[in-house]
Amino acid sequence: MSAPSVLFDAPGPRARRRHAVLTVIGLLIVAGILAAVALKFRAEGQLESSLWTSLVTGEVWSFYILPGLVKTLEAAAISIVLAMVFGIVFGMGRLSQVRVVRWVSGVVVEFFRAVPVLLMMYFTFRYYSDNGVFRNDVNPLAAVVTALTLYNGSVIAELVRSGVYSLPKGQKEAGLSIGLTPSQTLRSIQLPQALTAMLPALVGQLVVILKDTALGTAVLYPELLQAARDIGTSYSNPIPAYLFIALIFILINYALTVVAGRVETRLRRRGGGPRRGAAVTGVAGAGTVDAPTDGVAGQGVYTGDASSR
């Protein structure tokens, strides 16, 4: 609250009273909705304790939830590593001095950013199965990883590119002016800073990937969502099972989001933050200083987050 708000003046006593009233109203509305839903759920028998207690048995955890979680994390981990590689390769490709490389990278990245992940997953799965590309039990994982890698790799490629672009121009020039060659400058000055600037967005992208592994149920990949379906089948409690798995997804992803935020503030404190000098140069300065970090993070927010499912 100490940061000045664009929208609101510091509240006076009347404003504070109004806020208190709104607070109460807001809470009442929420409580009302929750109560209505709970009542209806109870009427439908979805709140019967037996449906829920089975979710906290050791059996469900050791046979469904944990294995599903492992599969989810496995697919996510492989995908993020491959996507990083893909992203850095094509991101650098888009920054290349060679026009053809730039052009090809551009088309690849734009194409895979435009194609829905689910569509890609359906296709790669069938393609791998029909052509026996991998072992059958690997095909679903392969399809999930392929689709996630191509899509998120393309997003990361854009992050790399915009990360490098968003650095103050002076960083490159300072590198050149102490006698580094352009490629040395890219490697030891621009890329490290772009990667650190990207880091929060990258962690954010991890959330996207983790969430998108859930699409893997469509190709029978036994991840968390599939685990929820299996629990629902075995214990006849699909709705509680899905709600419970949703909670797990939310907690994990939220934790990652928090990590991303921490990373960001940490980085800001150390380096990326607005520099005193630049701020003094005035209006133009004030705008451009925030742009680098906001640029990347912002990019992350909407390309990353929104394109997620």
Partner: protein, 225 residues
Amino acid sequence: MLDIFEKYAVFSAFWMTIKLTFFSAIGALVIGTVVAVMRVSPVAVLRRLGAFYVNTVRNTPLTLLMFFSIAGMYYILQLNLAEAGSPTELVDNGVRWAIVALAVYHAAFVCEAIRSGINTVPVGQAEAARSIGLTFTQSLREVILPQAFRGAIAPLGSVLIALTKNTTVASVIGVAEASLLMSEVIENETASIGVFLVFALGFVVLTLPVGILFTSLSQRLAVKR
């Protein structure tokens, strides 16, 4: 590869994709704006609720939301969005609840896009507005919102593109859109690259103009600082 156009209703599947996109975009815009207002309001509880909405929805797989929407809302809570007893009750509910799920989900991103639009407005603009004596509503209307809106165009464009692609998730509850058709086609035929390209390019064709339009709009309307 082209015979799939004769054998399957490719265009009507994409028409469903377009309808899903259109209506859920409107829904997402409405809900997202409300949540954004909550998130930037001076009332702590509303801000928290808004943040809770965004954090919850954004971190839930859309597949799950899609399922909750039809199974939880329609089948358990029995909120019927179509005419009861009509011969298309199920299909209509499927489509409409898919739209609701898509709208609810993307509202979280719309909210963040709007917030980032507001963040593009330097605090100095608001302070200047206050310092010449504009009231809260006046400074909002005359100074802040016109600039915030322009700053939000580009991120909103990204959300719309994501939304278009995410309509494919409606296939998990059996809504007959493009990706469901593709999965049917490759089930019946073989998984040829050609079939994939037809559908993939369909999405490129849908999203490309949106991207170009929003980029040029945001550049044309950009507030020069």
